[in-house]
Structure formats: structure tokens, C-alpha cells
């Protein structure tokens, strides 16, 4: 359900995005930070998401977060999410939330996961 909701919101929020979502690969794998979730589970991922929203209240909005994640995705020409996240680490697009050293996209994914939970 949450995944489907994310896809719909993504579609609704990307009218201005020039690269088609199908090309970006978004919609079936970015509504939660899969790798992080696989490491630490649902509860801790939600904790991170809540902490992110507390720290960046301007992003405490599903639509806004979806847009930001989509924009990050569209910047990277459809490479798989895990590669995009690795590239963010490489480029220094890193944020520390509750001590977790994360790429900005996966931190936002966690926030989205929290808001959708």
C-alpha cells in the first residue's frame, strides 16, 4: 500500500520533471531506503526518518520529499538506486541524522517512509 501510494504521488508530482520516471527507475524501489532498511529494519529506519523531518521541517511533506528524491534521481540518468546513493557518498552529498552517516537521498527516503508509516 505504501509503495503504491509513493508511486502515485511520484507520478502526480513530476509533471515538471523532464526525464520520464520509467527511465529513472523510480517508483518501484525508492519509497524506502532498501539497503538501510535491510541493515537495521523498519523501526530504526522510521526513527531516522522522524529525526530527519525534525531537523528539516521544511521537508516534512510527502509531496515535497517525493519531488526532492525524484530530482536527485533524474540527475543521475536512471542508474539503480543503490548506485545513485553510492554516487552521493562519493560527491559528498551526505547528511548525519542521529549519528547515522547517510546519503541525502536515503535520508529523505527514510523521512518518506516515516511519513507514510
Amino acid at each position: 500500500m505504501q509503495r503504491r501510494r509513493f508511486v502515485l504521488l511520484t507520478l502526480a508530482g513530476t509533471a515538471a520533471v523532464s526525464i520520464p520516471l520509467s527511465y529513472c527507475g523510480i517508483g518501484d524501489e525508492t519509497d524506502r531506503p532498501e539497503f538501510l532498511h535491510s541493515l537495521i529494519g523498519k523501526d530504526k529506519t522510521i526513527e531516522i526518518g522522524k529525526a530527519y523531518v525534525d531537523r528539516f521541517p521544511a521537508e516534512a511533506d510527502i509531496k515535497k520529499l517525493t519531488e526532492l528524491i525524484s530530482a536527485a534521481v533524474s540527475d543521475q540518468h536512471g542508474s539503480p538506486v543503490n548506485i545513485r546513493i553510492q554516487n552521493e557518498f562519493r560527491k559528498g552529498k551526505v547528511v548525519i541524522i542521529n549519528g547515522w552517516i547517510l546519503s541525502h537521498t536515503e535520508a529523505r527516503q527514510s523521512a518518506l517512509f516515516y511519513l507514510n508509516s
Partner: protein, 510 residues
């Protein structure tokens, strides 16, 4: 030859060519370099061959700075010195450790890593290190992070060599070395112009006092005691011998050793390259930042060991500088007993079976050098010990640079994990707030004492010169980690032995 100084007639005059004060890792290593030499070597040890509570009490002192271990427990006062309870961790200092770093105040040694290479090789033999790399199977478990950011720094493990046990017979049978036990030096008397040492005063708990004269004197009593002896030798120079520039006792340094973060892996792994089995493992790696990354971030040098969480949680209840662990940190006898028990436990192989399994979660146990700080110092107290020597006051201080270095080092490891898709890192809570420069209650050092007689070519910047000779005093030298201008990236014993071998070569060349 061995003589118990308590058995000598009072006011005995002892004479020789070289007098070494202190029989720990540095003092014994130095004496061994003169085996079969025509020179007569006097080796003075304050304690005996066995632990003696009365002698250990001479090391008691006060701490007025950051919380620190009981000074009485931090060093052992008997033949063999603190090697009686060291853990055997060895690794060479890195090239960058010897260099002047613009972002580290008062950094830079008057020698390079290259100058020490041949001595490290010989020191490895003394410490019984197997310095070949781990085998290919183990090397394959390297995390292979971006080599622009991180490297695997290799550590070697001494059995550990207990100098007192290993070298007692060699020293006491050497015809040209006379070991005096229960011979505590309480004063260094210089000539009239204070340009050379004339004689040493030796006392013991039997109430006797003797004089020692030698052409050259080498202090090898450990960082705190070297400074204490020079500071207390103030009958001719009011601030102490070799202290014209008020540098003596300053720049006391430790290695910080603390759990800093958790590493989460996607599937269980044993990471053999990074694992340690006490008394079995001959070498392993710890994660370290490359020189370029240190420079880019403007941080100190350090390494991070990967401990499986089950091991880390046991260790976390172990030593720290607070008063919560009185048995191990405040009672030197209990500490020694603890080591004996640990050796039996590890030798049983039980540890190997229980703790060496694959796991998904590791803790990063990180070591960090302390930056040189003139305000971090040892001083004389008004209270005196049983032999009339002023006790020590330690004012241990850290700066914001140490905390920032810790945080940035772990952040880099976290970034490297993210880049490689290896896992994710979470900083421990005490490192969360980058504006907080305070230290947590479990602040812990490595029990390493360095820097109280720092080395510098200029007499206004250091107590000893590049050859470990006290500036301005032609026949007085200092051996050991008190000479280290910076703390370096690794535990000090390996470098203490290497530097002592270098000093021996210098003395032989004179």
C-alpha cells in the same frame, strides 16, 4: 652481575662508563646493546625483580586535569617495568607522524620515518613480532575501501614480551653490566656551571644512600618519572635540570582509545583481516585515513579497529579513566593479576570459539593521537614519597582538535562504507553534536605516557635534541616516549624500542 643496593654499605660510590636509570623496555634494550662491550654499564632499577607494593607506592600521584587512571597503576616499578602488564600491540609510526603538519601545533620530529626503519626491524626481533603480512586468505577479507580515503594499517602483536622475565638472566650474567635493584635515583647533581652531570644520588627503603658517577647518564624511567626526576633535581637550577625554557613536564600526551561508532553490514562476515585473538593473532589491520585525507580535513592521525559487537560490549565495561573500575585502574596488584588471568583464559582457546564467529554488526574502537599541548603537563606536588621525592601532579588536558579528529575520521569511514556499498556507520552519541567539545564520562586513554621531555633541535622548543641529549648538559640523555614530540598513530612501545636502538648507536659513535 646483580647487586641489591639495600645490601651495600651506606654511602657506597658506584662508578662506570654509562649509567642507565630505569630497567623497563628502554633501559633494558639500551643495556643489551652494550653486551660484551669494554664499557662498564650501570643499570639502576628502583624496584626489585618482583612486584613490591612499597616500591609501587613511589609512583602514586594526583590528577587535577581530566579524569585519569591512578598513576600508581599506570606504570610498574620493578625490573622489566611496564612490560609486565602491556598487551603487546605494535605498529610503526607513519611517515606523517614525523612531519611538521601545519594543522597540528608543535608537530614535527627532528628525524624521519626513514631514519627509524632499520631500528624498527631490529626492534621487531626484540619484541618477537612476525612482521610479514597476514596470509592471502586473511588479506582477502580487506574491506577494500576507496584508497584515496582509507588504508589498512597493519598491527603486529608481541607475545607479549615481558622484559623482566625474558632478559633477567642475560642482564645479570653479563660481565660488563651491573644491575642494581632497589636503587632509586632521587637527585641529579650537575657541575658548577650546570653543563654536565657530576653524580647521581641513589636511595632505597633500607634507609641507605649511595652515589653514582658515570661518563654518560641516560634516564629511562618512563615519561612521568623522567620529568619528575629532572624537575626534582632543583638544588642548582630552581626550575629543575634541563628546564631553562620551562618546557620540562609539559606536552604530556596520551592516545585516546574509545568506542566511537557502529558498523552495520548487510550479511554476517568474519572480516578476519581486522580481527584480534589475544595471544594468538600475529598481525591484523585497522582502518586508517590516508595522509591526504588527514591533510584535507586538518585532523590528527588515528586508526579504528573493528570489534564484533559481542566483544565490544564486554570491553566497554572494561578500562576507562573514570573511577568506576577501581580493581583494574586503581590497584596495580589487581591489574597484574587480571593480566595473568586473561592470559590463562585466552590460552584455553575458549575465546576463539566463542567470539570469532561471523557477525553483521561491529563497533569501531578508535585510537587517536593527542595533539601536543604545553598546558597538558606533569608537575611536582608538595607531598613527598618514602624516599623524600616530591610526588607528581598530572594535569591532563585535551583540545577541540582531538574530538573533531575523532568525528571526522569516523565520518570518513562512514562515507567510504557508503561509497563501497559495504554497510552503514552510526556515530556513538558522544560524537553526535559537532559543536560539543566536551568529553564523555567514559573518556579513556591507552595508558600511554609521552612527551614530557620533548625532542627538538632548538633548545627553546625542546628539552632534548635530536639525539635525545638534554640541551645544555653534555652527558645527560633521555630514552623513551618522554622524548616524543607527537604521540603518533600507534601504541608507543615499538617506537620506544626503535628509538632506544637509535640512541644506542649514537652513544656508541661518541
Amino acid at each position: 652481575m646483580h647487586i641489591d643496593a639495600r645490601t651495600l654499605d651506606n654511602n657506597t660510590l658506584i662508578e662506570g662508563d654509562i649509567c642507565i636509570v630505569g630497567a623497563g623496555a628502554a633501559g633494558i634494550t639500551l643495556a643489551l646493546q652494550f653486551l660484551d662491550s669494554p664499557l662498564k654499564i650501570i643499570l639502576l632499577e628502583g624496584g626489585g625483580f618482583e612486584y613490591d607494593a612499597k616500591m609501587q607506592d613511589m609512583y602514586r600521584g594526583r590528577s587535577v586535569g581530566l579524569p585519569y587512571y591512578s598513576l600508581e597503576s599506570a606504570r610498574l616499578h620493578y625490573f622489566g617495568g611496564t612490560t609486565g602488564h602491556w598487551a603487546g600491540y605494535c605498529s610503526e609510526y607513519d611517515e606523517i607522524d614525523f612531519r611538521k603538519r601545519e594543522w597540528v601545533p608543535d608537530s614535527g620530529w627532528p628525524l624521519t620515518r626513514n631514519d627509524l626503519d632499520k631500528y624498527y626491524k631490529k626492534a621487531a626481533e626484540i619484541l618477537e613480532l612476525q612482521t610479514s603480512l597476514p596470509d592471502n586468505r586473511i588479506l582477502k577479507s580487506s574491506l577494500n575501501f576507496d584508497r584515496n580515503l582509507l588504508k589498512d594499517k597493519i598491527w603486529y602483536f608481541s607475545p607479549p614480551v615481558r622484559f623482566g622475565k625474558k632478559f633477567r638472566e642475560t642482564i645479570t650474567r653479563a660481565p660488563n653490566i651491573i644491575l642494581y635493584t632497589y636503587a632509586n635515583v632521587t637527585n641529579i647533581l650537575a657541575n658548577e656551571n650546570i653543563t654536565a652531570v657530576k653524580e647521581l644520588t641513589v636511595r632505597n627503603i633500607a634507609g641507605k644512600e649511595h652515589k653514582v658517577r658515570a661518563k654518560r647518564i641516560i634516564l629511562a624511567c618512563c615519561a612521568i618519572q623522567n620529568a619528575r626526576l629532572l624537575l626534582a633535581s632543583n638544588s642548582q637550577a630552581s626550575k629543575g635540570l634541563g628546564n631553562d625554557k620551562d618546557l620540562l613536564g609539559r606536552y604530556f600526551m596520551e592516545h585516546l582509545e574509545m568506542y566511537t561508532a557502529d558498523l552495520y553490514l548487510p550479511k554476517p562476515a568474519s572480516l578476519d583481516l581486522y580481527r584480534l585473538q589475544f595471544f594468538y593473532t600475529k598481525s591484523r589491520a585497522e582502518l586508517a585515513l590516508t595522509e591526504n585525507r588527514q591533510k584535507e580535513l586538518g585532523i590528527l592521525n588515528g586508526t579504528a579497529a573493528l570489534d564484533p559487537v559481542v566483544v565490544a560490549e564486554e570491553n566497554e565495561t572494561g578500562s576507562d579513566t573514570s573511577s568506576n573500575n577501581k580493581d583494574s585502574t586503581e590497584d596495580p596488584a589487581a591489574s597484574l593479576k587480571g593480566w595473568e588471568n586473561a592470559e590463562k583464559y585466552y590460552e584455553s582457546g575458549k575465546y576463539l570459539k566463542e567470539k570469532f564467529s561471523k557477525t553483521k554488526q561491529y563497533m569501531l574502537f578508535a585510537r587517536m593521537e593527542q595533539s601536543p599541548n604545553p598546558l597538558s603537563r606533569v608537575m611536582l606536588d608538595s607531598e613527598k614519597d618514602a624516599l623524600g621525592m616530591p610526588r607528581i601532579v598530572l594535569d591532563w588536558k585535551l583540545s577541540a582538535l582531538e574530538k573533531r579528529s575523532y568525528r571526522k575520521m569516523i565520518e570518513t569511514i562512514g562515507v567510504a562504507c557508503g561509497m563501497a556499498g559495504t554497510g552503514r556507520v552510526r556515530l556513538h552519541e558522544w560524537l553526535h553534536d559537532e559543536t560539543d567539545n566536551s568529553w564523555p564520562e567514559n573518556l579513556a586513554g591507552g595508558w600511554h605516557h609521552m612527551g614530557t621531555t620533548r625532542m627538538h633541535e632548538r633548545s627553546d622548543r625542546g628539552v632534548v635534541d635530536g639525539n635525545c641529549k638534554v640541551h645544555g648538559i653534555e652527558n645527560l640523555y633521555v630514552a623513551g616516549s618522554s622524548c616524543f614530540p607527537t604521540a603518533g598513530s600507534a601504541n608507543p612501545t615499538f617506537t620506544i624500542v626503535a628509538m632506544t636502538l637509535r640512541l644506542a648507536d649514537h652513544l656508541k659513535s661518541q
